[in-house]
Symmetry: C2
């Protein structure tokens, strides 16, 4: 595995961007195409700490036909195409590492059809999850996938995102029913239907979900919705140690309690959150939990979990039952990243994303805490622990390469541990630029070769977001 890490992406093979392509784009798209440096730079980065030269142009697509025309022009000139939503990816997915043009689909933000009776909704790819939930609010339904950031449905599909509700409602893998996609040749294809299940041929929907823009540009997404639970209760429970909180979580999952959210935050991270959000929550390892169901079922779940928590030294639950209290709680959780960044001015976070079988969670997490503590690098620690997924964010000074090196060593060691324990290098962030070597270690050369064969077959010119997931 590559333990090297540099601020600049190491293997850039920039392709020529012919002036004729830019002319053709300007002619086709007029004001919808920009070559202004500020616009290009904004589209040439994401939330990762990687840097690369920006794309040569940005096309602001307003329709599937816009995407088709942009992809066809790019193909004609053999130039890469990088789909862009709102730029919240974390692994360098959006960087134009081989040059190319960015196709910004954030303007394709219409909710196309809400089928409340079927619990499905079809949206354009630029619709964000908050916008979606606002749009379906009056139907009594909601879309549960919540990666923290207000990401677009297109981006969430492309990275197979999940987040805090996945323990109960699954990830984008389970929740995308159908897609419309523009392929590398500029064809529009449809995959899946609104039926709940199907055995109709290859599961192209799930091949495209998580393909990180390397197989096509997603132009329409149909996802499942869920009835808003009759009752929702959120609770905080503090524990004497991270281990106690983790072991409590393991038992909740093993007993099959249908908890909707179970998030770990460690004491140090809580200190950052309190300072940032001017809160006074306990600065101890906490589980933030949420229970969904009928009033009776929520009560029953909460009682069972309180009993388990007590066995592990957990304190009495502090409840957040009104929507406002719950919003405050989850906002604090979602702001942990920003709180951590603010705790060390000028720092960048190098975020990990391992996910292991639940029985291995304590082993994987605790050894990594020990290593991180010994390193002297400050960090935040958050976990979607019900799924066995957690994130360290190592807070490094970008001006100090030695800090980055330590952080990458910690990450390397953590991933190696997770793989030994039967887990994955990425639970929800994707491979992007950062985890290509980890992917090989995880899945083996044979599976990577299969992925490469598929990529070559579907994108023979290698123009769809090249240089991500694997080297071709």
């Amino acid at each position: 595995m590559n333990t090297q890490a540099s601020h600049l992406v190491p293997t850039i093979a920039l392709r020529d961007i012919p002036a004729a392509l830019i002319d053709a784009l300007k002619s086709r798209f007029s004001a919808q195409c920009s070559t202004a440096l500020a616009v290009r730079e904004q589209h040439g980065r994401d939330e990762s700490s990687f840097e690369a030269p920006p794309p040569a142009a940005v096309v602001f697509a307003q329709s599937t036909q816009d995407v088709v025309d942009a992809v066809k022009l790019a193909g004609k000139f053999n130039v890469p195409v990088i789909p862009f939503g709102v730029g919240t990816s974390l692994e360098g997915h959006l960087l134009a590492v081989q040059g190319g043009i960015s196709i910004d689909v954030s303007g394709m933000n219409q909710v196309l059809s809400i089928n409340a009776e079927d619990l499905t909704v079809t949206v354009q790819p630029g619709v964000t999850r908050k916008q979606l939930n606002e749009a379906v609010k009056s139907t009594g339904l909601f879309f549960p996938i919540d990666p923290g950031a207000d990401a677009t449905l297109g981006g969430m599909s492309a990275t197979r995102a999940s987040g805090t509700n996945a323990v109960r409602y699954g990830t984008m893998r389970e929740n995308v029913l159908a897609l419309e996609v523009v392929t590398a040749s500029g064809e529009i294809i449809r995959t899946g239907t609104r039926a709940r299940k199907s055995s109709a041929g290859y599961d192209l929907t799930r091949l495209l979900v998580g393909s990180e823009g390397t197989l096509g540009v997603i132009t329409e997404v149909t996802v499942k919705l869920y009835p808003l639970p009759e009752a929702i209760s959120a609770a905080i429970c503090s524990f004497p140690s991270i281990e106690a909180a983790v072991r409590c979580t393991i038992q909740i999952i093993q007993l099959g309690i249908p908890i909707a959210r179970v998030e770990l935050i460690d004491g140090k991270t809580m200190r950052m959150v309190n300072a940032y959000a001017k809160l006074a929550l306990r600065e101890e390892p906490l589980l933030l939990m949420e229970f969904h169901g009928s009033p009776a079922s929520v009560k029953e779940q909460a009682e069972m979990v309180q009993e388990i928590a007590s066995e592990f030294g957990g304190n009495a639950f502090e409840w957040a039952t009104t929507p406002e209290e719950r919003t405050r709680l989850w906002t604090a959780r979602h702001n942990a990243y920003f709180a951590a960044i603010q705790s060390k001015p000028g720092c960048r976070a190098i975020s990990t994303d391992t996910c292991v079988p639940i029985s291995r969670l304590a082993d994987c997490l605790l050894d990594s805490v020990t290593e991180a503590d010994a390193s002297g690098i400050p960090y935040f620690l958050l976990g979607h622990v019900g799924d066995g997924n957690f994130h360290f964010g190592y807070l490094i000074d970008p001006a100090k390469p030695e800090e980055r090196e330590i952080a990458e060593k910690l990450n390397h060691s953590l991933v190696a541990r997770a793989l030994r324990l039967g887990g994955t290098c990425t639970g929800e962030h994707g491979i992007g630029l950062h985890k290509m070597d980890f992917l090989i270690a995880e899945t083996g050369v044979g599976a990577i070769d299969m992925m490469r064969s598929i990529k070559r077959a579907l994108d023979p010119q290698n123009i769809m977001n090249p240089g991500k997931i694997f080297a071709l």
Copy 2:
């Protein structure tokens, strides 16, 4: 769409089977390789009504290495390979329509590792679902996917099977975590891990689940298990009409009640079941339901569903609470197919498998009942109605081509209706030989082309179960 249907598969392009291949197989596999006609014939058919010449030889694989060696020999001689479990597929998946050899994996029937703490189990592909549930019984866990037949886990993965529990627990799509697969070139690859979620590259697991043996031979399957519910109750509720039963189901689903099973059987089918199983159940449209959860939650679910049922004229539930009563109930359901076959001596069933969004279920089903009644062909009608999936089985006399023609016309009309309503031609049986034209109508030429490109890239010789899903 092709409305033609013939007993013999129409487009057979048999490839040469060199004697040198048979010699090489006999030399490598000795008694594990058979060319006896009876053995070949048994491996050259499934539960469908299609017929084709049998495979030239059957290899009884005992290990992944056996599969590798058989596939490599087949590849060397450019001869098709057809994986075989226990032969319960319904769409001609197992027929050697281009000639070739059958690889029987039913002897690879070891449960390799039960990870009760993680709710996962890894098995060889020949393990059947009943064998699996027997093996994990002592752990307090179970594997819910139940397609009726005691199919193998390999076969269930290959066809993306589901069945009566899918409404709550999902299908093989949601429940397979990881695979070991022998590719067309004889390489062994691994996809997925035991972690509950992952964003690590292309979702090869889900590409292979449902690929019907056309991309590789599955040699190991890791699936999710679930805690046996603390309480299980099954109930029968009869309704004045199919429409009332269907509308009741729609409301149960739209309210998000976590019902574990909700199966429709129509009155005519119940008459067949009663005659076959010497039962005295009401010969009216019935919903067979099952509720899983804590005792309180099961009670609550049942009360809510009883209330909904009453609104639609449903009678008071008849309960089956002991394991024996439940087994009798579900055995009656699973035997409906055989009961129907027995009701018309010498008949074959042509089974449909459409699945539509739940709001369209009544429209789709009722119009199809009207058409079937008008046709004069006897039929059975069963539905996994909670998923919008149902099966007509048209009972035809194989000696009367006109009956087959009527049945295929009914099927054609039903599929066209389901597609118009946003559904799929196959909820769980797969495409096989029978639904290739329907697949094109459903997904469009673009998506089929993408499937074909993947197939050509991963199996350039087209030796893996060729002639299924799509024509190459």
